[in-house]
Amino acid sequence: MTSLDEAPVPRGQLVVHELAGEAIVFVPESGDLHHLDPSATLVWKRLAPGVPLRQIATEIAAATGTDAGRVQADVLALVERLGQIGLLRRIGDPIPGERTPA
């Protein structure tokens, strides 16, 4: 269960292209190709270390004039989905391909 206090970030080794406000995310190791719609792309571009989801939702709500509670719910659902398909890592998660300490 994702919380608004978390600050997940895009996992490494992704190839991302933005076209007309929509993102294409390619995972070279699996060959998976994902298409993010404009709303998802808006969130995706704000994911960064130390930036909690609550802050991202607040910024988007302010920028779009949308109800903050609804944006928070949408952001959580999206991040949950992005996590399920393996596009995110939480700070502290091992980075794919990185050797973990013995």
């Binding site: 190839v15 292209h17 076209l19 007309a20 929509e22 993102a23 294409i24 390619f26 070279p28 699996s30 060959g31 998976d32 190709l33 298409h35 993010l36």
Partner: protein, 293 residues
């Protein structure tokens, strides 16, 4: 260097293979076909496949066709069997299939290869990208009958360095559902046992597009056969994902192929076109191409 197209007609496809060896070039797959068979039913069908790709090249691969008895044949590629004990029509289809497969493999190091048809007129280059059975060959044949030049009906090879398409003017493969639309393309040798016509573009009154050119419009066709033909502009990101599904070897080509698809989606409009009938599809695509131009 591809030789200039000769004025091949449907009836001219009936001519036998020139001598016992006919060199050709399929996107860099340089081959020749050797047969000692004199059966016109076989020779005509092989010639229909090979003649559009005829080129003055040094062949690197030898296809040989040998009789196995009772009007049946074995097709081998460098002594490896491609098919055995098949009639003339199926032997020719296996040759066409094997040439396609090797053409794509040959092109991929320098190209991103789309499962697509292509045609060119003036400054417009249209790419029709779709999986098998969506109407690519029929639609491009319709464009050729309306004065467009032929690029291919199977594999659009986009050069990664400049997005230009290397022509692959193989014979069009027309399935029975299309035959009534192009009666003049019927090969003189066709009979009731043929399940596909191999038709040179010239048989539709078209020329080959000899010069590489970048696509100016991409169409994602889907034959519905009902209602009205309609077009919808596809967003660039959706276009990339849909073109990826039509890219030979994706995702093995990885980032290189993806980069090409992104560049195509950024530089030319992409339309999804639901096709009710050929005539309206050709009108629709021509209108879209004119708007882009």
């Amino acid at each position: 260097m591809r030789t200039p197209p000769s004025p091949v007609t449907a009836s001219a496809t009936s001519r036998p293979l020139p001598g016992s060896a006919s060199p050709g070039d399929a996107l860099g797959h340089r081959f020749h076909v050797v047969t000692e068979c004199t059966d016109p039913a076989l020779q005509n069908r092989l010639a229909a496949v090979v003649s559009p790709l005829a080129a003055d090249v040094e062949p690197e691969v030898t296809y040989s066709v040998t009789p196995t008895g009772s009007g049946r044949y074995r097709l081998s590629c460098d002594e490896r069997t491609v098919c055995a004990d098949r009639g003339p029509g199926m032997t020719a289809r296996f040759l066409a299939w094997h040439l396609n497969r090797n053409a794509v493999a040959s092109a991929r190091p320098q190209h991103t290869v789309l499962h697509a048809a292509g045609a060119r007129r003036a400054d417009s280059t249209v790419v029709l990208a779709a999986p098998m059975g969506c109407g690519k060959s029929t639609t491009v044949a319709g464009l050729l009958a309306h004065g467009w030049d032929y690029i291919t009906d199977e594999a659009v090879a986009v050069r990664r360095e400049d997005l230009r398409i290397t022509p692959y003017p193989k014979a069009l493969s027309l399935d029975p559902g299309s035959w009534r639309l192009f009666p003049r393309a019927k090969p003189s040798w066709a009979d009731r046992d043929d399940r596909q016509w191999q038709v040179p573009a010239a048989a539709l009154g078209a020329r080959d597009a000899l010069e590489p050119a970048a696509p100016t419009i991409v169409v994602l066709p889907r034959f519905t056969g009902t209602g009205a033909t309609c077009a919808r502009r596809v967003g660039s990101a959706e276009a990339v994902t849909r073109l990826a599904r039509c890219t030979f070897g994706f995702p093995d080509g990885g980032v290189d192929d993806l980069t090409v698809l992104v560049r195509i989606a950024r530089t030319c409009p992409v339309y999804s076109v639901e096709i009710a009938d050929l005539a309206s599809a050709v009108r629709c695509i021509e209108r879209l191409a004119e708007e882009v131009a």
